[in-house]
Each structure stands twice: as C-alpha cells, then as structure tokens.
C-alpha cells in the first residue's frame, strides 16, 4: 500500500486509539465515581481497594472494546477517504481490487495512489472531536462531585414543632370552675388549700404562656404538686407500712386493711381479729397487739393529731386497758372488747374516708386538668398519673352474693341499698363524694321527668326504663 493511504490510515489509527483511551478512562472514572457515591449513600467511607481497581478494570475493558470497534481497517479507511475527500469510490475500489490484475484495475490503483499522495493528511478530519473533550470533563466533574458529597448519615429525628399556645376563654373558665369545685369539696383543709393555691398559680401562669410546651410544663408541674400535697397530708400509707412491719399479726392485718383504704376490708379484718380473742383466752395477745400498734404509730412519724393516728392510738389504748383487767378474757372484758372494736371500726373508717376523699378529689382534679389542657397520661411522670378507681384492690374481693348483711355489704355509711360498685362518686353539684345510690337516684329522677314530659322517643324510653329496672333489681353488676 502506498504512502498516501498509509498516512491516512496511521492518522485514523492514532485517532481511534486516542479516543478509545480517553473514553475508556472516562468510563472508568464514571464507574469509580458511582461506586464512591453508592458507598457514601450506604453510610460507608469510600474504599480505595474497591473503586480504584473496578474503575481501572472498566477503563481497560471499555477501551479495548471501543478500539476493536473503531479499529481503522483498510476498508474502513478507504470508505472514509472516499466519503470525506469525495474521491468517487476510488479508495474503496483500490482496496477491494487489491492484488487483482487487469490494465484498468492497475491504472485505477496507480491513479488513486497518486491522488492520495497529493492530498494533505490534515484534510481528513476526525469527526466528533467534541466527544473526546466533553466526556473527560464530565468524568472529572463526576469524580470531584462524588468525593465532595458528604457521607450519608441518618437524619436526626424530627423535633416536634412547638406551636403557639393561646389560653382560650373556655379553658380559663373551666380552670376557674375547677378551682371553685375544689374549694367546695370535702378535701381536708390543708391539701385543699395547697391544691387551690397551685391551681390559682396555674391560672396566672397560663395567661402569660405563649407556647404549648410552656403550658404543658406548667400543668404537669401543678399535677405533681397536687399529688405531693395529697400524699404529704394523707398518713395511711405511712401508718400501714409501719404496722406491716410489726410482730403482731393483728397489727399487720390492720395495716394491710388500712393500705387498701377500704372500709369493707377493714371491717373484715377487725372482725377476724376480734374472733381471735375468744372468752377465756390469754389477754397477753391483746396487750401485745396494743403495744405493737402504738409502737408502729410512733415509728410511722405521723403527727399525733392526725385523725387516723388518733383513732388507732385510742384503739390501742382501749386494748391495753382491757388486757390489764385480767390474765384471761372474761365475759365483761369481751363485751368491752366488742365495744372497742366497734368504735375503732367507725373511727378508723371515718379517718380513712377523709384520706380517701383527699385522694379522690386530687385525682379528679388531675383528670380535669388533663382534659382541659389535652395532657396525655403518657406525658406525666409515672408517679403523677391518676389512680384507676375501677381497679381498687378490694373490688376483686367484693361479692355481694356472699354478703347476707346489707348493712355491712359495702360502701361508707349505714349499709343502705348499694347500686353496683361500693365506690363513692364525686358529685360536682355538691362538690363532694357521695354514695352511688344518691347520684343514681338523682339521675333517675331527671330521666323520669323527661319520660313523663314525653320528650324522649319511645325506643329511648324503653331503653332507659329497662336500664334502671336492671339497676334497681340489684343484679350486682356495675351500673354501666
């Protein structure tokens, strides 16, 4: 092949090789950049032992494949020469009929060689040079970007926004109503004053509060204070704890009963203790019980003017006096013992009722605050959450079918007919806890009035009539 053709072929060969190397390197760089990006998005640091060899391998393979594709064979060179230099298929004819004989063929070859030798190499342009420029630039940009992108880390948990708080008129009124209710309640003076003070302070704070977070902090603070006020005033837990540590079974039983704040349980325990002191038995046990009760009272740290303390102390004193009357329990001593137990039951129950009322008013106040200000129970510290009145310990023990004596069948008071649970119910109109029966009677009166006035539909009349008939029949289920 003549110099002219070889000249052009060499130029195209160099062009193909250069392009293959450039595009191959660019491809390798792209792949490496991609690997780096993937590693960073996977929260891992770029590993040179991965992206470098992979990139290099891709570059090598791509370069080789591309060069194979672009390789300037004689036919390809001839075709490009004819096309770009407008040779009228002279070069292709020369290549295709290479080695063939024939005068015209030989002349054609010579003529073509002459023509090619006269054309400068630069006249043959390498097309699409922009690819050789753009691709490396893009590859460099990609590599730099991949390394500049920071490693992905978990986004911090979204913080709840702290919306603005506006102390609405109804909230303010509801809080004021709550304060009045507490004032009118049967809560003892000391905790009641503390609770009222906290509520009034809350009223002032909330008028100035701008954020919900501030409002919630204030309300939760007041809730904690209410619990502290009630707990610090009520003594039953301390006394019950002290009694439970004594050596006397009687004292322990009394302490256990007191801790439930249940008159029923207290009555049952006192009855059982009294039964243990049979006529003719040794009075030492009575004396020991009295002594243990007094000792527990002293150890409890409760003030001597505390009603529960006084009732238990008086009971212990009476027991001591009865025990001192003789070594054995006489009939008369037994009668005196009966009287002492009866008195103790009443007085201790009364003292417990006061503390029960304190707790209930405190819990109710807390519930109302949660309702007014939308505080969830989960937002409160565990020790500040209101107790569930439906899950008192004595509820499981209470079975009215077992109790033939309606006077002692539950509830605080004289043993009147019991409707459902023996819990006291808070009456907002009276501002105190009253027996369930009083409230249900009031409700029934109002419903009856509505029925008589014909304000209810026939279906609702029937439903309500059946409901109250069910209640008044005393089936023993809760009035729900």
């Amino acid at each position: 092949m003549n110099n002219g053709f070889n000249r052009f072929k060499k130029k195209l060969f160099v062009g193909a090789l250069t392009r293959s190397l450039i595009l191959g390197a660019s491809s390798g760089a792209f792949v490496s950049a991609l690997i780096v990006l993937i590693e960073k998005l996977s929260k891992a640091s770029p590993n040179m032992l991965i992206y470098l060899p992979v990139g290099f391998g891709v570059a090598l393979i791509f370069s080789s494949l591309l060069f194979t594709f672009l390789y300037p064979s004689d036919r390809r060179v001839a075709k490009k020469l004819d096309s770009d230099l407008r040779l009228g298929e002279k070069a292709q004819t020369m290549i295709e009929f290479r080695g063939k004989s024939g005068d015209v063929t030989i002349m054609q070859r010579q003529d073509t060689e002459r023509i090619l030798s006269e054309i400068p190499t630069k006249d043959l342009k390498i097309k699409n040079l922009w690819i050789d420029i753009i691709m490396p630039i893009l590859a460099i940009v990609m590599i730099i970007s991949a390394f500049l992108v920071p490693t992905y880390t978990e986004a911090p948990p979204p913080t709840e926004s702290d919306p603005d708080f506006e102390f609405s008129p109804w909230q303010e009124q509801a809080l004021k109503d709550l304060i009045e209710e507490v004032k009118k309640s049967d809560m003892e003076a000391s905790p009641r004053n503390a609770v009222v003070s906290e509520l009034e302070g809350l009223l002032t704070e909330l008028r100035a509060a701008k954020k919900v977070s501030v409002m919630k902090a204030s309300v939760i603070g007041v809730i904690k204070a209410i619990n502290e006020a009630v707990d610090s005033h009520n003594s039953y837990i301390k006394i019950a704890s002290a009694l439970s540590k004594s050596e006397s079974d009687a004292a322990k039983s009394i302490g256990s009963a007191i801790s439930t704040l249940s008159a029923i349980t207290l009555g049952e325990e006192l009855t059982e203790i009294r039964a243990g002191f049979s006529q003719g038995s040794d009075t030492l046990t009575i004396s020991a019980a009295a002594l243990q009760i007094k000792s527990a009272l002293t150890l409890s740290g409760v003030g001597t003017d505390d009603p529960l303390y006084v009732s238990l102390d008086t009971f212990a004193g009476e027991l001591s006096a009865i025990a001192a009357s003789g070594d054995t329990l006489t009939e008369q001593a037994g009668q005196e013992l009966d009287g002492a137990f009866a008195t103790a039951g009443e007085k201790i129950s009364s003292a417990l009722l006061l503390q029960y009322t304190n707790e209930r008013v405190g819990d109710n106040t807390i519930l109302r605050l949660m309702q007014i200000f939308g505080i969830k129970e989960s937002e409160l510290p565990s020790e500040s959450r209101p107790s569930d009145s439906a899950t008192r310990e004595d509820e499981g023990d209470y079975n009215p079918e077992d109790n033939d004596d309606p006077l002692h069948s539950g509830g605080f008071g004289s043993g009147d007919m019991i409707f459902g649970s023996d819990d006291m119910i808070y009456d907002p109109e009276l501002g105190k806890y009253v027996s369930y029966g009083e409230v249900i009677n009031k409700y029934y009166a109002k419903i009856s009035e509505q029925i008589l006035d014909g304000n209810l539909s026939h279906e609702l009349e029937q439903l309500l009539s059946d409901y109250f008939a069910f209640l008044f029949d005393g089936s023993g289920n809760d009035g729900e």
Partner: protein, 326 residues
C-alpha cells in the same frame, strides 16, 4: 500494458468524438454523451423528441465521426418487416439462371435510425426489435449477422398519437436508454440557424472506426465496480418493484410495474463506460445516479396516484434514487 495506451487513448477518442459532433449538433450535450455511452456499451437508444430537434442529424454525424455506415428507416403503418430486414428475391444471375438471393434491408448498417418506430405495426416493430436483440436477421431459415458495432437509435414522436402503436413494455426493455431531446434553448437555436444557413450537410469528420469502438467496449467492460456500488445499483432496480419486500416507499406509492433485471445490467455496463469517459477508472455512486433516469424511465410504469399527484416518471425516479441509501 498495451491496453494502458488504449485506456489513455480512450479519453482522447471520446474528446475527439465530442468535438466533431459539436460541429454538427448544437447543444444537447447530455444526449450526445448518453448516445456515445450507449454505442460504446453496446446498447440501443430510444429517443423522444419533437420533429426538427436534430435526431437524424445526430445519428448521421455519428456515422461520419465513427466511420460507420448509417441508415435511416422511416417507420410508417404500411412498413413491412421485410422492408426493414430485407427479403429474398428471385433474379437472374450472370449465367441467366433464375436464382434466389437475399436483398439486405436498411437494417444492415452499423448505425440505424428507426424513425417514429411507434408508427409501425407491432409485427414490423417486433422484427426490428428482434434484430436489435440478436444482431442478426433470419430470413427463410437463413441467418445473416449484422456487422458490429451495431447501434439503433429509435425515435418516438410524442405529439402524434393517432394511428400509432406504442411499444409494449417488454420490448421497451431492449433499449438501454430512453433519452428526451428537448427543444433547444434560444442561444442554441441561434447557433443552429446560423450553422444551417451555411450548409445543411454534416461537416463532422471521421475520428475513429468501428474496430476502435469495439476495443473501447472491451476496455470499458474491465472497469472495476466495488460490491457496494453494485449493490446500490441492484437496490435501485429492486426498489422499483412495489410487490417486493425490499421495495422503496416511492415504488409502493407511485409505481405500478418495476424494471427488469436488464435495467441492472444496463446500469452497470453504461456506468463503466461513463466512468472511463469522465477519466475515472472505477464506477462510482455518481455514475449510477447519473444513469438511473435514462435507464429506468422507459422500464417502469407509474400508477394513477402519481398521475393524481402530477408526478412524471422522471420525478418518481428522482424520488426513488434519493430514497435509496448509499
């Protein structure tokens, strides 16, 4: 390498031929080139043109330039085949005996002008066309070969259609080219008038002879054609057939009947001659493109869609060539 001299002499001969012809034929350069191409390639030409544009003068001048006997046959409806080919006659010999002898007809020339061939009856036309194909005359079971080179230039008068017998497509195929001789331009007409005021006779001189034509023909047949160009020519011809899978979109839309394989043969043969005439030693795409029209225009039939779209055969062929990719 004596043929190299002949190759070099080929172009010189072409130049001389053209120079001499210009002395008698004004303008019509493309027609002259194609006629020369056809003669060298061994083909025949169908020439369409109105009367007086120089058809007869062209062939007569060619005869002089090529030193070839020339004859002109005016086809008329009453022309018999024997009027063309010759006939056997009974005559007395030198001894006075009655012997039969074949009297050659006007076809026995190297260059024949078959004027208004479409006026002759189909029978006369076919006798003429058979001669064109086989280059021999068969009369009374005797064959008489025609002297090479043998070239027929047939004409069709596009004006007078009454009483004519258009050549059937199968016979049109025997012509290598169909050329359309247009009315001369004004300046050409001026030159024609001036020239013919001096003399009406042809003034061209002989420059080559029949043997040289045959040598040029042999030389042209050796011109190399690469496969791609050959394939291109074949795709053009195949592309004219609407019924084929490889038909062009143009053919599917505008062509009723496509060209025969003779068209492909004609294309390549003529392209080789054209290449040499232009000083090239190989056939190029340009050669094929330049010859597509004269080779195909009488070999395809356009349909009514083309007529409705006011397209001529030439328009359709041009569209087809543009469509076929190189």
């Amino acid at each position: 390498m004596e043929n190299i001299e002949k190759v070099q002499g080929f172009n010189a001969s072409i130049v001389k031929i053209k120079e001499e012809l210009r002395r008698d034929v004004v303008g019509q350069d493309e027609i002259v080139d194609n006629v020369i191409t056809a003669i060298i390639a061994g083909g025949n030409v169908l020439l369409e043109g109105v009367p007086g544009v120089g058809k007869t003068r062209l062939v007569r001048s060619l005869g002089k330039v090529l030193s070839l006997p020339f004859s002109r046959i005016q086809f008329t409806p009453d022309l018999m085949p024997s009027d063309v080919t010759g006939t056997v006659v009974i005559e007395k010999d030198a001894d006075g005996k009655m012997v039969s002898s074949f009297r050659k007809g006007p076809i026995f020339a190297n260059l024949v002008l078959a004027d208004e061939i479409n006026r002759a009856t189909p029978k006369t036309q076919s006798s003429m066309l058979e001669v064109m194909q086989e280059h021999k005359v068969t009369v009374a079971n005797n064959s008489y070969a025609l002297e090479e080179p043998f070239f027929v230039l047939a004409t069709e008068n596009p004006i007078e259609q009454d009483g004519t017998y258009p050549l059937p497509e199968a016979q049109m195929d025997r012509f290598m080219f169909k050329l359309v001789m247009k009315f001369p331009a004004n300046d050409e007409l001026v030159d024609i008038v001036k020239m013919t005021q001096i003399t009406m006779d042809e003034t061209a001189s002989a420059v080559i002879d029949g043997e040289t034509i045959l040598e040029m023909r042999a030389l042209a047949s050796t011109v190399p054609v690469i496969d791609e160009v050959l394939d291109y020519a074949i795709r053009i011809v195949s592309g004219t057939h609407p019924e084929l899978d490889r038909a062009s979109d143009t053919a599917k839309k505008y062509i009723k009947y496509g060209a025969s394989p003779r068209a492909a043969q004609a294309l390549i043969t003529a392209a080789k001659v054209r290449a040499l005439m232009n000083g090239n030693y190989n056939v190029s795409y340009d050669d094929i493109d330049a010859l597509a029209l004269p080779v195909l225009r009488h070999r395809i039939k356009i349909n009514y869609t083309a007529v409705n779209d006011r397209l001529t055969v030439d328009d359709v062929i041009a569209m087809l060539v543009r469509e076929i990719k190189k």
